[in-house]
């Protein structure tokens, strides 16, 4: 499997009132062509920042360093902003939570959708192009599972349910056939039925078009079965990464284990008993622990944890922890 996205030791530093803080701390992530990779992290883990770094939505005040930040055969950090925008615009797209909030509230969806059809795909004189656009827009809506395309095209965003609004935003995102779609918590706070529809749609698009998807979520209960690999991040550090099934059934990392327990994956859990959970709160940027950032909340932490653990590798599975759940022989 060749990786089309290859990120090694990506670090992003921001200035805060408490000095410079690494909001992403040596994060690595690989994505293969046509693969769905789920990135799981609680709030403040840097998930959205990673998405922005990949898309090139970068604040000039951030200090970004990496051993590798490659998209296909492009070294993204070596490109100038114009080249970068060109590649993002051609190859990538993104969807978010609450699509209703970034669709233009005052413009009918049909018009917003027609705008996204790439010029290059249209031929002929003006009127012909305009008609083509409408046809293409309708076809896009059909592709995301909207049957009554005409009605949706004549609606304003607030007239749609959250599920349909998210489908429309997916239609806009895939209009130019991107090779990578980043979905940033696309279903958080949606009801399960709607959420499953969106998941099925994304899985189908990925399978039928070979589109890679980076699916960002805060919760293990919303990892989809079609996701081949997944990564868990905590406070900007990579905790564990590997094949989805391995991680969900044989985790090495205490954080993954805790997340599974908290997400009710433990079938022996007796109703009404107290849930196993991490104590304390997610630290703020100004109070990042040194070393392994899970340290103050980790049930297995010991003195050695004030040094950031290196990534250990067992087959396809990688984790960063001095005291993993399963003993492994590491030889660096």
């Amino acid at each position: 499997m060749s990786n089309i996205l290859d990120i090694r030791n990506l670090t992003i530093e921001l200035e805060t009132s408490a000095g410079t803080v690494k909001v992403l701390d040596k994060l690595s992530l690989q994505l293969a062509e046509g693969e769905i990779h789920t990135l799981v992290g609680e709030s403040g883990s840097g998930k959205s920042l990673l998405a922005k770094a990949i898309m090139g939505f970068i604040n000039p005040r951030w200090k970004i360093t990496a051993d590798r930040l490659w998209w296909r055969h492009y070294d993204l950090l070596a490109l100038n902003p114009v080249q970068r925008r060109m590649i993002t615009g051609r190859d990538m797209a993104m969807i978010f939570q609450n699509p209703g909030s970034y669709l233009d509230p005052n413009t009918k969806l049909g018009n917003q959708l027609r705008e996204t059809i790439p010029q290059s795909e249209l031929k002929g004189i003006y009127l012909r192009r305009k008609a083509n656009r409408t046809v293409r827009a309708e076809r896009l809506l059909h592709r995301v599972g909207i049957k009554d395309a005409e009605k949706v095209m004549n609606s304003y965003p607030h007239q749609l349910s959250e599920g349909v609004a998210q489908k429309v935003s997916i239609a806009m995102a895939i209009a130019h056939n991107p090779k990578l779609l980043i979905a940033d918590e696309p279903t958080t706070a949606m009801e399960p039925n709607t959420r499953n529809q969106i998941y099925r749609l994304l899985a189908k698009l990925s399978a039928s078009q070979g589109m890679s998807i980076l699916m960002i979520t805060q919760d293990l209960t919303s990892v989809i079965p079609e996701s081949q690999r997944m990564s868990l991040v905590y406070c900007g550090q990579l905790m564990e990464t590997g094949p989805t099934e391995k991680i969900m059934t044989e985790p090495f990392h205490p954080y993954t284990d805790a997340m599974l327990q908290m997400s009710f994956f433990n079938k022996e859990l007796v109703p009404k008993t107290r849930l196993p959970t991490l104590t304390g709160a997610i630290p703020t940027l100004q109070h990042m622990p040194i070393g392994c950032r899970l340290g103050p909340r980790c049930p297995k932490s010991r003195r050695a944890c004030i040094h950031q653990p290196r990534l250990s590798k067992v087959k396809q599975h990688q984790f960063a922890c001095h005291f993993p759940l399963i003993e492994v022989e590491t030889h660096d």
Partner: protein, 266 residues
């Protein structure tokens, strides 16, 4: 034993004007009856718009029912007597930050409900706020904090502190867990279980999460388009759901199922 709360035929209609047309009447909740025992936990499930929030609002007194009555300990609740209801039935919302006053310290917000509802001295009130903060896992120091200085989990704790400070008999929550991070969500669920055990509080909550509902609810009420279509013990609905919708709403997530499948195959 009489029931703590009895809901008898309450319904809710909203009417709104649609331009110059005659006002339209929408039924948010058709007449519904059920009862809740002391210390019992009831989950309300249903799709968006099915009437879950409406039930929560009617019980907590945030809205007045179009018909029907609510009895607490056998006594009719007057829809317009807020003081009585305020003490015994408290509500927590999904958006904790927005339901807190950004201009007031946590301590002042908690004191507010004591001011109007007790005849305690200032010192007694202050002491009670400290005790309540500790009950929800916050510190006396948080008395002087403003809401924005707290994390979302801590804000949700403040909302729970505000809900329990008058030692109510019932807490009503509408999707109070959905937006929380998993570790914080688990902490808050544990906190509610503890408080129920200590104070015998009944808990009525609307939720989309089959996992949370299965873990904490004694009974589940299933709503569909403003109608209650099923109401029974959690066990009964899990083993023998009569409605397709019940089965669907209580189904755990896809991957959960997929993994179970692979492990049983081995």
């Amino acid at each position: 034993m009489t029931d703590l709360l009895e809901v008898r035929n309450i319904s809710k209609y909203y009417s709104y004007k649609n331009g110059w047309l005659t006002p339209q009447r929408v039924c948010a909740l058709e007449p519904i009856s059920f009862s809740v025992k002391r210390g019992e936990t009831i989950a309300i499930m249903g799709e968006t718009g099915s009437g879950k929030s409406t039930i929560a609002k009617l019980i907590s007194g945030a809205e007045v029912p179009s018909s029907g009555e609510i009895f607490l300990n056998g006594e009719l609740l007057d829809p317009n007597n807020h003081q009585q209801r305020c003490r015994e039935i408290r509500m927590i919302f999904q958006d904790s930050l927005r339901s807190l006053n950004p201009q007031l310290t946590i301590g002042k917000q908690l004191l507010e409900s004591l001011l109007f509802n007790t005849k305690w001295s200032a010192a007694e009130q202050q002491e009670h706020v400290y005790v309540t903060l500790q009950k929800v896992g916050l510190l006396p120091d948080h008395f002087d904090f403003y809401p924005h200085m707290l994390s979302s989990g801590q804000q949700q704790r403040v909302c729970i502190a505000r809900a329990i400070i008058l030692e109510p008999q019932i807490i009503v929550a509408d999707e109070a867990f959905a937006a929380l991070d998993p570790s914080i969500r688990a902490q808050i669920i544990n906190l509610i279980l503890d408080l129920q055990e200590d104070m015998g509080i009944s808990f009525i909550f609307a939720s989309h999460s089959p996992e949370i509902v299965k873990h904490v609810a004694d009974k589940i009420l299933i709503m569909h388009r403003g109608k209650m279509i099923e109401f029974d013990s959690t066990q009964a609905l899990l083993t023998n759901p009569k409605q397709q919708l019940t089965k669907m709403l209580l189904q755990s997530e896809q991957l959960n199922k997929a993994l179970k499948h692979t492990t049983t195959q081995e």
